[in-house]
Amino acid sequence: MILEENGPFPPFGVQFSPLENMLPPDQTVSFIMDYPFSPYGRTIEQIYTAQAALVPRILDPLGNQPAAIIFCSDAATADKRLKETGYRLIFPFANGKGIAVKS
């Protein structure tokens, strides 16, 4: 079983796999989390996992891109972060997650 691609295990970063079909492979997108990006931040593992799962797309933690993945822990936090970063949610998923564009 370990000789299969993922064996019996879920693919790495499986939570981000729905996004693969929505983002072109050559696109750089922002990745917005509960807190602004800091190399020593609490939620840093989320962006690392997302980047590893979504290669060859490039994730920009600083919110400089026209499109963004919103990956917050709840809807209220997502709304707060959307306002702070100037994005507008266009494809909302559950629990503060979705895809947004610069408003």
Binding site: I2, L3, E4, E5, N6, G7, F9, F12, P25, D26, T28, P39, Y40, I47, Y48, T49, Q51, A52, V55, P56, I58, L59, D60, P61
Partner: protein, 507 residues
């Protein structure tokens, strides 16, 4: 899966044929054993370089170009290897099995009443114990290796979030492979060298999918090669007991075991440091250009694995130059130097191309510092210097996972210094491993001073791994300094080519 197995066999074959072909005409003990140890890592090094240059030439066809070039190399090496017969002349090969049966040295039956009988019995039991320790250490290694494949298949933080991300850029969409150098996500260190990512992608290309089993296999081969090299080094000097003791000691190091399980690239780097150091010793011992070439290649492997390897390659080049001058090898100085540089230039070319063309602005390389900045950072920040040395003291001497390796090493350095001072004779081949270890540590003291990261965080997260790089060489130096050379009985007959304690023939 068959494709992956085939790719692995080809990688191993290439490494073996290349190393053994080079060493065919040098008379030294156990050349095939050395070629087997170096085969995997050398094959991986070639595969990664071929894949990198293929991506530079034509990203879309890179996998095909690299595979074809590799198959061509294997065919060429096979032809060359078969056309030049193996010259295994008067090198006395000490037979390992005789070591474990000291009674075999006696022609006639030994009476149990003689002291020689009891001496042989004691040696027999002691050596069986030694063998038991070795297999115990090897068993622990194999258990951890299997666990890393079955339980920790994604590897540690750096592995899954840095090294394998780069491998995915190679594999998933070759047209977008240069995305790995993007400064946008600089937390994945775009400027890191590409040996491991390229080798991982190489296997995935052959398998046609991102197989979980491949990266731990690469890691395991590098990890096993380090104690293998230590074992071969002492074996080649006919120090059987030290070979078993030193390699077992290294295999039982908690630091080595932990980072092997985590699959960090510090294990391959430890291999290249150890290989470059030990082969440099052999290069000086046998005065053969081939050894200088492989030493350069291994030093180049270090810089193609991690940025730290660049500093080490610099130290190795400096030490090689000094040794050529100091050991009166001037008559062949040019060919020795050129051989070393030729070996080094293969990975160095790829390293420099990556730095200049893809990542000209890195954390260290191209950071925009002037010489004055470096002088200030290294010499005019006493607070930082104090923290760095406190960090070294803590991680070298207060970490129980080393099994007191660095205490042992420090004692060996002091002892060798005292002995050399009394004899007024510095720069013996026995000192090379110690000098390179000290150079590597001094390099890391400097690097920590110019690190852009918060120094305490840097020490907490990286220093133990930096020390691991030089630990193979430190182990060799410490054991060689304090080894107990067994007094061997005179063999009854030296007619047999397998007499255990003959010295190796030097050309």
């Amino acid at each position: 899966m068959i494709n992956l197995a085939l790719s692995f066999i080809l990688v191993f074959m290439t490494g073996f044929l290349f190393i053994h072909f080079l060493l065919k005409k040098i008379f030294f003990p156990y050349p095939r054993f050395l070629a087997v140890i170096l085969a995997g890592p050398a094959g991986f090094l070639f595969a990664s370089l071929l894949l990198f240059w293929s991506y530079v030439l034509s990203p879309i066809n890179a996998a095909g170009i690299a595979s074809l070039a590799f198959l061509g190399s294997v065919a060429l090496l096979t032809v060359l290897y078969c056309r030049h017969p193996d010259i295994s002349l008067p090198v006395s090969k000490p037979a390992l099995w005789i070591y474990f049966f000291p009674f075999a040295n006696h022609d006639s039956k030994l009476s149990w009443r003689t002291p020689e009988f009891w001496r042989c019995l004691f040696l027999f039991l002691f050596r069986i114990l030694l063998l038991g320790l070795f297999f115990y250490a090897l068993g622990i290694f194999l258990r951890l290796f299997l666990l890393s494949m079955l339980n920790n298949f994604y590897g540690g933080w750096d592995v899954k979030f840095i090294w394998h991300v780069k491998a995915k850029f190679f594999f998933r969409d070759p047209e977008q492979w240069q995305g790995m150098f993007s400064p946008v996500f600089n937390w994945t260190h775009p400027e890191y060298p590409l040996l491991i990512p390229a080798v991982v992608a190489w296997g995935w290309h052959w398998a046609g999918k991102e197989l979980l089993i491949w990266p731990p296999m690469i890691n395991g081969i590098f990890a096993l090669a380090v104690p293998g090299l230590i074992f071969w080094y002492f074996l080649s000097k006919q120090r059987f007991m030290t070979a078993f003791l030193a390699s077992s000691f290294f295999l039982l190091s908690g630091v080595f075991q932990f980072w092997m399980y985590e699959q960090y690239t510090d294990i391959p780097l430890c291999f290249f440091y150890t290989a470059a150091g030990l082969l440099l010793i052999q290069a000086c011992r046998f005065r053969a250009v081939q050894f200088f070439f492989i030493t350069g290649l291994m030093a180049g492997g270090a810089l193609w694995t991690k940025n730290e390897g660049f500093v080490f390659a610099g130290w190795t080049t400096l030490l090689t130059g000094l040794l050529i001058v100091q050991r009166k090898l001037r008559s062949k100085a040019k060919s020795f130097s050129l051989s070393f540089l030729a070996g080094l230039s293969l990975p160095l070319g790829a390293f420099l191309y990556q730095k200049f063309m893809f990542t000209p602005r890195g954390e260290y390389w191209g950071a925009g510092h002037t010489l004055q900045d470096y002088f200030q950072m290294i010499f005019l920040d006493p607070q930082k210097t104090k923290i760095v040395f406190q960090g070294f003291a803590a991680y070298l001497f207060r970490n129980p996972d080393w099994n007191y390796l660095w205490w042992f090493f420090a004692a060996a350095i002091l002892y060798r210094f005292w002995v050399n001072l009394r004899r007024r004779n510095f720069g013996n081949s026995q000192d090379i491993a110690g000098i390179l270890t000290l150079m590597a540590l001094a390099g890391y003291v400097t690097v920590l001073h110019i690190s852009p990261y918060e120094i305490r965080m840097q020490i907490d997260t990286a220093l133990i791994r930096l020390l691991l790089h030089a630990s193979g060489l430190a182990t060799v130096f410490a054991f060689e300094t304090f080894e107990w050379v067994e007094s061997s009985p005179k063999p009854a007959s030296l007619k047999s080519s397998s007499a255990p304690f003959q010295t190796a023939h030097r050309p």
